[in-house]
Symmetry: C2
Subunit: 393 residues, 2 copies
């Protein structure tokens, strides 16, 4: 894919800056997106109308020349790094070689992502380079708008996600319930850990890796970031939130369903209906030109009208709707644009999650999450997976 860096050119021109500089490994998505190169150790990418890669060491040099989307690939030995190391301490040598690289490309001032390493910035400043953190995160903004090819990558990750969710639903739905109300499969306790393992196996079979998976039951589910542990129980809500990354493309999917083996209490059922209503209200608000703030407000309206606390009605509440409505999804599982009180204007190509939920340690938690791509005239929901609270009996 050839990203469109027009906005980056405009940013450099408006801020009268010679180049955009990234110093990170490719886990940092701005780096991967700008360089097209995947490497586990930090490297330098400069954009000044063209992409230039710089590696202090030679190890990745051959691979970078083959794989990076770069006009040039250079390395320390092109700038006498070894002699500089002999003369100066390693930090100073690195700063000098980096300044020489920038100078070779006619660059005396650089903008950087907000997360640019402070050490590198201050060292470059000492060498006379003008370094400014780009608070607008222009590369993050550019990659928030997905090309068709990127949407296809996200769709592919979602097919894996749906297979994994089906496996989780099957395990929960077909479980037996023991005398203490705990779920069992093949006689063994069905735990969060067991369901997580089966989810992750399924994702691997479908070419996806993942960092974390949430399978949280009862009071665990009341903490939106609790990954869950221990036996799953009948009659309690079980939140399953899966956010795999396709290993090849590096794009993510992100979907949540809430299940209950057998009959839930009245509150969970009410919360489930309300959350479906909140999700529908959010989706109805999604269109180009709407803001993430408006979409988030639509969710708050539904919950507040039903008397549920939200962070909007009470900024310190620890129960009710205690997170944002959603976030962008792409190379990062959390990226721009935000669907939150601070959420900006939605544009075609934005891929966002819509994930309202309610939480209370006394009751449990409910969350339902789809994600959509904003289109010219509305949105397309990229999730093809039913919503069914009660599974098994």
């Amino acid at each position: 894919m050839e990203p469109d860096f027009t906005a980056l050119d405009a940013y450099l021109s408006e801020t009268d800056t010679d180049g955009y500089l990234v110093h990170a490994d490719s886990e940092e998505s701005d780096q991967y997106y700008l360089s097209g190169f995947d490497a586990p150790d930090p490297y330098i990418t400069l954009y000044n109308g063209e992409v230039h890669l710089f590696l202090f060491r030679s190890l990745e040099y051959g691979r970078a020349k083959k794989q990076a989307r770069a006009a040039t690939v250079e390395r320390g030995s092109d700038y006498d790094f070894e002699s500089l190391l002999a003369e100066h301490d390693p930090d100073e040598a690195r700063a000098r070689v980096l300044e020489a690289f920038l100078s070779e490309h006619g660059v005396e001032s650089v903008a950087t992502p907000p997360k640019f390493p402070l050490q590198t910035a201050d060292q470059l400043r000492e060498q006379g380079v003008d370094v400014t953190a780009d608070n607008s995160s222009v590369i993050t903004e550019i990659r928030a708008k997905k090309a068709d090819e990127e949407v296809e990558h996200i769709r592919e990750a979602q097919r894996a996600n749906e297979a994994a969710m089906a496996r989780a639903e099957e395990l929960i739905g077909t479980a037996n319930v023991d005398d203490e109300g705990r779920l069992r499969q093949d006689g063994e306790l069905l735990t969060s850990e067991r369901v997580t393992e089966e989810i992750e196996m399924t994702l691997l079979e479908h070419g996806c890796g993942l960092d974390e998976t949430i399978v949280a039951c009862g009071s665990d589910a009341a903490d939106p970031h609790d990954r869950g542990s221990g036996p799953l129980r009948a009659g309690e809500s079980i939140i399953v939130d899966i956010f795999p990354q396709n290993k090849q493309s590096k794009y993510h999917a992100d979907m949540t369903r809430t299940f209950c083996h057998g009959e839930p209490g009245d509150t969970i059922r009410e919360w489930y209906d309300l959350t479906q209503e909140a999700k529908a209200a959010a989706l109805a608000a999604v269109e180009p030109g709407a803001t993430g703030q408006e979409v988030h407000a639509a969710v708050c309206e539904v919950y507040e009208e039903a008397g549920e606390p939200t962070l909007r009605s009470n900024p310190t509440t620890e129960t009710g709707f205690i997170h944002s409505t959603g976030h962008g999804l792409g190379l990062d599982v959390h990226e721009q644009p935000s669907v939150a009180p601070s959420g900006d204007t939605l544009e075609p190509g934005h891929v966002i999650t819509i994930e309202p939920g309610l939480y209370d340690p006394e009751v449990g938690g409910v969350r339902i999450e789809d994600f959509v791509v904003v289109t010219e005239d509305g949105y397309e929901n990229l999730v093809e997976y039913d919503e069914q609270l009660v599974v098994g009996k």
Copy 2:
């Protein structure tokens, strides 16, 4: 575990700095080690003799209070973040609330990890806080020395690694060879991808996650960071490098073996013997007080005496021994200390890999990697896995 922060106290005292400040998510191991808190979104940790956590938003507040190793956990609402957001742009509001948090803890000057985000640093400076990147990476240095409990975590990750390596060796060893010299299992081509999937399944079953796995055959194996792809072939070297992370403890293992299904060529066999010799020479040099540089030099000696190029004898060589001898291993798969030309003194508790190798696209690659913990009187090798080049016939 209660880490020993004596060296951090000494650093602050020597540099006359009020506190040490980290702004990162827990993927950043300095953050996880200092805070004891695991969260996917960035948060603030301040150390000023005690650990203080600060969260801009409330989502993780309850979990942080339960899990973090912190004297206090505070959040934006404790410092009127919402009113500041109403008055200022979000960046300014964040800087002001952060300055207020530091001020509340009597902190006017901070040191930070080298990777501290430039944006946060410059914003704090504008608020009058003195911010300096700690080029000595004191937290990284502290966590390089492992407590017994951490060594046990690494051992546990290694048991998973050995099970996964055994699965890879079995798949390669029991394969059939087709007319074109390609390996087959159950009639299907045995590819890098297939072996990788089986390795990763095995790791998941053993409680480990992972980012990448290398199963590289022939010319792929000649690039130390190539993950490998496509059919595996008889008579060619296959490098299998696995570096899992235990999901619970977050500690890593890292081991490499080189296999050949059937007879390798003379060069691969010679390289294998030489690499075993280089590894033995490196291990013989490991003891407290020795430097990473000396251990690395021991490997270079063996290769250079045999006439193989190294980066020491030729800094721009793209064949031969083209990487460092090893690296520290712990919460990060690559951490301090380095076993390389710049490698410092080894101390008891350091866990380091020893992974010499030789590479040439015309021949393939050979690498053998163990890892050891430096002890009071030498080292203990934490790898219990045979070295056998030829598997299958």
